[in-house]
């Protein structure tokens, strides 16, 4: 019995140690684990000419198709800051104003983000169209949420 108890305690101790080590590692590398930054992050920590991913919502009324037929311009917002994006890549089916979106590319010195890839990001709500329309009509529709800032301002 004591042997079994000792084995149990050793196991629990080992698991607690492993859990702590993993938690510390993941917290230390949060910046690398985060898949994308928010527009606010770009103002806190400018990426220079590094390839970065930025995520947020497509600002309402910001989508402009250029006359060349391939270039699209739009603005990504996290409701605090915005970033202007231009891309000549195809857009996913879910891409629309108010939708979550994620762009990969480089921030030009003039502040325009040149995206080499555009992905759509949707939230966890699923419902039939009629229900969504009814919620929108009654003003109870929950809008998409942008990702969180990785860097806290002033850190």
């Amino acid at each position: 019995m004591t042997r079994k108890k000792r084995r149990l305690y050793m196991l629990l101790l080992a698991l607690a140690g492993l859990g702590t080590a993993t938690a510390l590692t993941l917290t230390a590398f949060e910046e690398n684990v985060a898949f994308f930054f928010s527009p606010s992050d770009l103002t806190v920590k400018p990426p220079g000419d590094k390839l970065v991913r930025v995520g947020g919502l497509v600002a309402g009324g910001s989508v402009v198709k250029e006359n060349d037929g391939v270039t699209t311009r739009f603005t990504i917002t996290d409701t605090a800051h915005t970033v202007d994006v231009t891309t000549n890549r195809p857009l996913p089916d879910l891409f629309r104003e108010g939708q979550g979106v994620l762009v990969e590319g480089r921030l030009r010195p003039d502040g325009l983000f040149v995206a080499s890839e555009v992905l759509a990001r949707h939230d966890e709500n699923y419902m039939p169209k009629e229900v969504a329309d009814a919620l929108k009509a009654s003003g109870q529709f929950r809008p998409e949420v942008p990702g969180r800032p990785v860097f806290e301002a002033g850190r």
């Binding site: 079994k4 084995r7 149990l8 196991l11 080992a14 698991l15 492993l18 859990g19 993993t22 993941l26 949060e30 684990v33 985060a34 898949f35 994308f36 930054f37 928010s38 995520g55 195809p90 857009l91 996913p92 089916d93 879910l94 891409f95 939708q99 994620l102 890839e117 555009v118 992905l119 759509a120 990001r121 949707h122 939230d123 966890e124 709500n125 699923y126 419902m127 039939p128 169209k129 009629e130 229900v131 969504a132 329309d133 990702g147 969180r148 990785v150």
Partner: protein, 240 residues
């Protein structure tokens, strides 16, 4: 606990349970597939691709459930030396790997039309891929030793170390920015899925679970038979 860890008792109990879970699973799959493919509405923004959810999410749940149960069994095997715990883990591993593969492939088939990509290395997708490799690693490790007992010991330790990945999968979407959206069903403020879509999902989830129960019983019986064969062969080899 010890009572149920007795293989002979398990075999009797399994024989009693198997027909019920098999029939139940067949019924649940029939009803669930009808609801998922025909009687459920399209999603307001994802259209018909939402139907991929009805296989993707149950597969993901089973991938995590199977691994968690194997890790608990591994703890029981290491601490209390239950012989059935090892038999269970070995029997469940290929099923768990299958569920994880199914989750990854259907997720990819869903990601391409909706997100615009088959795969990204975000925290959720990456941690599920690691889960798949943990299953494969466990299966390889258990078979890698000449002495089955050492193989099972090493496998159990791998299962427990890898168990840290399960909460990471679950909470990755809350802890970090990921392309994958947060949980829709298992969340604090209740499901974010409309009832017409939630029902087919829950029924198919139960169908997967009963399928797992039936199949893991078959595999455990095979593993127990294998152990008897080994014992008999030892006796026989000694007799010659």
């Amino acid at each position: 606990m010890h009572r149920f860890a007795n293989p002979a008792r398990f075999l009797r109990l399994a024989a009693l349970v198997l027909p019920w879970v098999s029939v139940l699973s067949a019924i649940l799959f029939t009803v669930g597939l009808y609801l998922a493919l025909l009687a459920s509405p399209e999603d307001y923004q994802q259209g018909d691709t939402v139907r991929i959810m009805y296989v993707h999410v149950p597969a993901a749940w089973m991938a995590m459930f199977t691994y968690s149960s194997m890790a608990v069994a591994a703890a029981c095997a290491l601490v209390w030396r239950h012989p059935l715990a090892e038999v269970y883990s070995k029997a469940a591993a290929p099923l768990g790997a299958g569920f994880t593969l199914l989750c990854l492939v259907t997720g990819s088939l869903w990601g391409e039309p909706m997100w615009g990509t088959w795969w990204v290395w975000d925290a959720r997708l990456t941690s599920v891929l690691i889960l798949f490799f943990l299953y494969l690693g466990y299966m390889a490790l258990v078979d890698a030793f000449d002495d089955p007992q050492r193989g099972h010991r090493a496998g159990a330790i791998l299962l427990l170390v890898g168990a840290i990945n399960v909460p990471i999968i679950k909470f990755s979407v809350d802890w970090w920015n990921t392309l994958h959206q947060p949980a829709s069903v298992l969340r604090l403020d209740g499901p974010a899925i409309h009832g017409d879509m939630l029902w087919p999902l829950l029924i198919l989830a139960l169908a997967f679970k009963t399928y797992f129960a039936a199949t893991v019983i078959l595999r455990m019986r095979a593993e127990l038979a294998e152990r008897k064969i080994q014992t008999l062969r030892l006796t026989q080899a000694g007799g010659v």
